[in-house]
């Protein structure tokens, strides 16, 4: 190990999408090697089978803890969570030995068809209560903690604020929370609210993981933030990250989600920026499995 590496504390992980494994600036496995010693964990989405999960573990994770990001289990769906998909994906979680599972809260389907893209739920008490029921079902049936994630919002509809909605969800389900600071920013942009105020309105005491990623505001419509993961992280999102880390007492992991449109330079620059920001705090990651997680509200 080089002296520089010996001094490095791994403070953040990558958020990766298995279906793009060969389309990042380097392959997933090469990225893992390039950032060896600087990664606290990996988060992965779109693994369709246990077999793919084994390849991921052998070629990419190589001993790092893994968060299993679910796709489309959807506790907010009108009929409740897709338990067939959830059961199938638990076999993937088993291979990953997932420290927890997570998913953006929203609508993923038109009937049986996955939507070309996802929709945040109506921000209404009846929807929050429905999500609570769905999360309770997942907790009852599943072997891994399910952590709901704040969704990206290009349009916000409903009488509740994002903060009130997620207080009701996490209080009702007594669960942890995944805070995506770019998604918080997207809501603030769509709702024309100060982004720091939106952040402070959320149940930060329940946050165990933070996501950060790049994106941009639609140049033709400034109420619309596009969470592409393929652009640089916006300065306002970095500011939100800094404030969120300081205000989240139970934070375990910070995940930098990357997209296929990022070039290696942008990726490295943003990784370094986030790493440096985290290095200036006294926070250190603790990405441990279910048995190591303190229950929600314990802080």
């Amino acid at each position: 190990m080089t002296p520089a590496k010996a001094q490095t504390v791994a403070r953040l992980g990558f958020g990766l999408d298995w279906q793009y494994r060969d389309r990042y600036p380097q392959s997933m496995a090469e990225l893992r090697t390039k950032y060896d010693g600087r990664l606290s964990h990996l988060s992965v989405v779109s693994l369709p089978s246990a077999g793919d999960a084994r390849v991921f573990m052998d070629e990419c994770a190589r001993g790092l803890p893994v968060v299993h990001h679910l796709p489309g289990v959807a506790p907010a769906a009108p009929g409740g969570p897709n338990l067939e998909l959830y059961t199938r994906l638990e076999a993937v979680s088993d291979v990953l030995d997932a420290v927890w599972t997570c998913e953006d809260i929203g609508l993923w389907s038109i009937g049986p068809y996955p939507l070309p893209y996802f929709t945040p739920p109506l921000f209404e008490p009846e929807l929050a209560d429905h999500v609570v029921e769905g999360i309770r079902t997942l907790h009852r049936l599943g072997r891994y903690p399910f952590v709901p994630e704040i969704p990206s919002c290009t349009l916000a509809v409903g009488r509740m604020s994002l903060g009130d909605f997620f207080h009701r969800v996490t209080d009702g389900a007594d669960c942890d929370l995944l805070l995506d600071v770019a998604h918080v920013f997207s809501y603030a942009v769509a709702a024309r609210r100060p982004f720091a105020q939106v952040l402070r309105s959320l149940p930060l005491e329940r946050v165990v993981e933070i996501h950060v990623a790049g994106g941009y505001i639609d140049p033709t419509f400034d109420n619309r933030y596009l969470d592409t993961h393929s652009h640089s992280v916006a300065p306002a999102v970095i500011d939100l990250l800094q404030e969120a880390v300081a205000a989240s007492p139970r934070l375990r992991a910070v995940t930098y989600e990357i997209g296929v449109g990022l070039d290696a330079g942008n990726l490295d620059e943003d990784f370094g920026r986030i790493e440096e920001l985290l290095g200036q705090t006294d926070w250190t990651p603790a990405v441990v499995g279910p048995s190591g997680l303190a229950p929600a509200g314990a802080a």
Binding site: D17, W18, Q19, Y20, V45, S46, L47, P48, S49, H69, P71, G72, P78, L85, R88, D104, G106, L107, W108, I110, G111, P112, Y113, P114, L115, P116, Y117, F118, T119, P121, L122, E124, E126, L127, H130, E149, P151, S152, T154, L155, V157, G158, R159, H183, A190, H211, A213, D218, T220, F221, N223, R224, L226, D227, T228, H229, S230, E257, G259, V260
Partner: protein, 258 residues
């Protein structure tokens, strides 16, 4: 011959009656479905805006209170973005259809699909096949050739690899990748397509075979799909178009003279 239960002419237009009925219901599911319809259907958005303006009697009060929070200008921008993404998603699912037909033909059909009741009915095995069923019904009154082209591509996609949803790069990349199990080709399933009254031939090694009658040779002697549906690009003549699925989601097509 199999009837086409969802391809009656009225299925090619949006049903404002459905939106109106949803507006009168006082339940979570109806409000959620209204939100989704607003995101894809201009007709539904117009019905909702009219009902809100008309006031009492046309919207359940609770639903009216929820819909009062909609920024209709932002909704228009959002809907346009979603239609672009739907278009790109369908194109990426089956690029050969976009090589065969031009955007001037396909884009209005995609927009019509999103604005139709067919968008909300799961007649096809995949979103792409459902679109082809809609497009087939929408064009068959004016062009039997176009209708046959949509049937061919719909059948090919039906047997191809499962859809794995990966949204285009300008949408939230977090919400990507629902891994599909795909159709179990070892089990026969009801086909929503009109087989033209023909029994499909036995194809050795095939897991499933479907066919239909066409007045054009839609598939050439090497099994290649059409690259143009312009008059003169395809050889006329009564044919049985056969699409067969093999293990590993391999698909072949052939045109047998009748």
């Amino acid at each position: 011959m199999i009837a086409l239960p969802t391809l009656a002419p009225d299925a090619c237009a949006v049903g404002p009656g459905t939106t109106r009925a949803l507006l009168l219901r006082d339940d979570r599911e109806a409000r959620t479905e209204l939100l989704l319809r607003l995101l894809y259907s201009k007709t539904s958005a117009d019905v909702v805006a009219d009902a809100l303006a008309a006031g009492e009697g046309r919207v359940c009060p609770e639903t009216a209170a929820v819909l009062a929070t909609v920024d209709f200008h932002a909704l228009t921008v959002e809907r346009a973005a979603r239609l672009r993404n739907l278009n790109r998603h369908l194109q990426r699912t089956c690029p050969p259809l976009w090589q065969c037909l031009d955007k001037k033909t396909l884009t209005p059909l995609v927009e019509g699909y999103a604005d139709s009741d067919a968008f909300w009915r799961s007649t096809g095995r995949t979103l792409f096949e459902n679109f082809c069923l809609y497009a087939h019904g929408a064009v068959r009154g004016r062009s039997a050739l176009l209708a046959d082209v949509f049937q061919l591509f719909g059948l090919v996609s039906r047997f191809s690899a499962p859809e794995l949803i990966a949204p285009p790069e300008d949408v939230c990349a977090c919400t990507t990748g629902i891994p599909g199990e795909g159709m179990d080709l070892t089990k026969s399933a009801f086909s929503p397509w009109d087989d033209g009254g023909l029994l499909p031939p036995v194809v050795p090694g095939a897991l499933q075979v479907e066919s239909f009658r066409s007045a054009w040779r839609l598939v050439d002697e090497r099994g290649r799909l059409p690259r143009s549906a312009e008059p003169g690009a395809l050889e006329p003549g009564d044919h049985q178009i056969v699409v067969a699925a093999f293990p590993g989601h391999r698909v072949t097509a052939a045109a047998l003279p009748l």
